[in-house]
């Protein structure tokens, strides 16, 4: 199902943060949401998730307005991966099992546990299932959070800077994982991310937020130094890789 954002606007105490933001994401497509700190990336994700009420505009999944969905139905269709989860005492299995909460029973059923088992297996996390979350490394914990999101069996995956506190290897692992599950599960994935290098490497499209609007929406191979300079105010040089896709972006 297509995720469609249609003219979303939002203000914090009459200070406008988002102004008529529109775009759509197809199933199996992973899109990066980039921009400077305070550009409104996290706010946009929260508006999509209905954690915040936009002052204008609508979020549609397929042809259904998210606002008109019941809370549980909305939670079944959209899953969220936060930047970092608080330290938890729950075991990995219990954390991933939380992803089944939107499916409505008051206590986990065998069916829910089987879903968790499949997701842990798919993400190669089965060996961690009995470990308390607080004993995991940052990279492992972030993968478990992704597993929790996938256990919901969502159609839309929203990630809020999922790599910001990880080392280089884990950043690559997490982005690879998101890319893999986006394609295999046919998810519409939106990743708010600071690292443009990771974005061009793993995402099929990049959206740049500036002054509350989509300043540029382009494929990685269309990215230019001018766009980066206009958004971030930094001069960069783009080193091109194969097929004209940027290999890396270096500040100069």
């Amino acid at each position: 199902m297509i995720l469609k954002i249609d003219g979303i606007a939002f203000s914090y105490n009459s200070h406008p943060v988002l102004d008529s933001v529109s775009f759509s994401i197809r199933p199996g497509e992973m899109v990066a949401l980039c921009g400077v700190n305070g550009a409104g990336k996290s706010t946009l994700l929260r508006c999509i998730l209905a954690l915040l009420n936009p002052t204008n505009g609508a979020v549609l999944i397929g042809d259904q307005n998210v606002r008109n969905m019941k809370t549980a139905e909305r939670a079944q269709k959209m899953a969220w991966v936060p930047q970092k989860s608080p330290e938890m005492e729950l075991t990995v299995f219990d954390v991933v099992l939380l992803g089944r909460l939107p499916h409505g029973s008051s206590r986990p059923r065998l069916e829910d546990m089987k879903v968790v088992e499949r997701v842990l297996d798919m993400l190669n996390l089965s060996h961690l299932s009995t470990r308390p979350m607080r004993t995991l490394s940052g990279g492992e914990a972030q993968k478990v959070i992704i597993a929790r999101a996938l256990a919901t069996l969502p159609r839309v995956l929203l990630c809020d800077e999922p790599t910001s506190h990880l080392d280089m290897k884990n950043q690559l692992d997490v982005m690879k994982l998101l890319n893999r599950v986006t394609i295999s599960q046919k998810l519409a994935t939106l990743v708010a991310i600071h690292d443009v290098n990771l974005a061009v490497r793993f995402c099929s499209r990049l959206l740049f937020l500036k002054d509350g609007r989509i300043f540029a929406a382009l494929r990685p191979e269309e990215l230019s130094e001018d766009v980066i300079e206009a958004v971030y105010g930094v001069k960069v040089s783009i080193v091109e890789g194969s097929e004209g896709r940027p290999l890396c972006i270096v500040p100069v």
Binding site: L51, W80, P86, E89, L90, T91, L101, R109, V116
Partner: protein, 360 residues
């Protein structure tokens, strides 16, 4: 296929394990279900320990009753002074210990989860201090009877809860702000209590201070029943939401994204456990640390899944208060030593323990 799944669900629901668990290779689900089943043994041990302690507490005291005599009294074949001691003195005291300990521990477990603070307890929201102020006001200003003191303490506790609730609902307070509001209210009620102590005479002051010593021996069956029914009702309410309470550990935004009405559930549970705490405090005085300690012990033994934390905290709270009261009666006092003093002495070692071991 559907029937097979329903059968499997029934197996899990009744804790009989999943089909195919006895195979050589255990699946992740099998391991999880086995870990759930192992907790049953702990609950059985806890229940047995509590029963044994209750029987010992019934028999032991200034007036010794043998086990055989106790059985004969309970079955109604023996009367006399032993029967009076057992039915009118020891049994209400033991049941009060179990019920109040369970209620305070249940409240503590919920408040720690709902406010995401391991050092939160029923007194964090200023409920105990509100109750104390209500009792002091009743004794010193209204010169009230024992029953009115309990009622006034209950109103004092509820007033604290109502103020926190109003602030929280109207201003949308975050968990940290709720705790700080509780601290502020505690300080306010504490100041009011000190003012009342200052303006009164020595007789009234002695009566008020005697109220503030937590004592499970002062209540009758009506008061015990009120705390019992409130505790059972709140236990059922909270246990029904135990899976959702797990999501509170992940933070409000994550819990909301999982379809939980976070604020509504938080306030619903806080209101419910506040009533239990208010009743327990109003009728039995200030009993510190049971609500703080019991959930910590439960989490250390059972892990953090609220499916276990809620019943384990409740049972451990009952056992702790009964143990503390029996210890007070048999070792320290001459039959009527206030248990609140004993439980208060547990506080300092616990805080040191938490600091040394790190928060959990």
């Amino acid at each position: 296929m559907k029937n097979h799944r329903e059968v499997c669900d029934l197996f899990v629901f009744f804790g009989w394990g999943s089909v195919g668990m006895s195979g050589v290779h255990k699946s992740v689900v099998d391991v999880y279900i086995e870990s759930l089943q192992k907790k049953r043994l702990f609950f059985l041990i806890l229940l047995t320990g509590t029963l044994l302690l209750a029987v010992m507490a019934l028999c032991k005291g200034t007036y010794e009753i043998s086990f055989r005599e106790m059985v004969r009294i309970i079955t109604g074949s023996v009367g006399g002074p032993e029967s009076v001691v057992l039915w009118s003195v020891r049994l209400p005291r033991i049941v009060a210990s179990l019920v109040v300990g369970a209620g305070l521990a249940l409240s503590g477990a919920c408040i720690q989860t709902l406010l995401r603070n391991p050092l939160a307890s029923p007194s964090t929201l200023g409920i105990s201090q509100g109750a104390a102020f209500g009792a002091y006001f009743s004794i010193i200003v209204l010169k009230a009877s024992v029953l009115s003191v309990g009622f006034s303490a209950f109103l004092g506790a509820l007033s604290s809860m109502a103020i926190i609730l109003l602030l929280g609902r109207i201003r949308g307070l975050a968990p940290e702000a709720i705790i700080l509001s509780g601290v502020a209210l505690s300080s306010l009620y504490g100041a009011g209590t000190v003012l009342l102590q200052y303006i009164t005479d020595e007789t009234q002051l002695a009566r008020a201070i005697a109220w503030s010593f937590g004592d499970v021996g002062r209540s009758g069956w009506n008061e015990i029943s009120a705390v019992f029914f409130a505790t059972v009702f709140v236990f059922l309410l909270v246990y029904r939401h135990s899976w959702k309470l797990n999501a509170f550990e992940a933070g409000d935004d994550t819990a909301s994204s999982l379809g939980i009405a976070v604020n509504s559930l938080r306030w619903q549970c806080i209101m419910a456990v506040s009533v239990v705490t208010a009743l327990a405090t109003a009728f039995h005085g200030l009993i510190a640390f049971v609500g703080l300690i019991a959930p910590h012990i439960a989490r250390r033994i059972c892990g953090s899944n609220h499916r276990h934390v809620i019943p384990a905290s409740t049972m451990i709270g009952a056992l702790l208060l009964l143990g503390a009261d029996t210890f007070s009666r048999l070792i320290i006092g001459s039959g009527s030593f206030p248990v609140g003093i004993t439980t208060s002495f547990l506080g300092a070692p616990l805080f040191i323990y938490l600091l040394v071991r790190g928060k959990r």
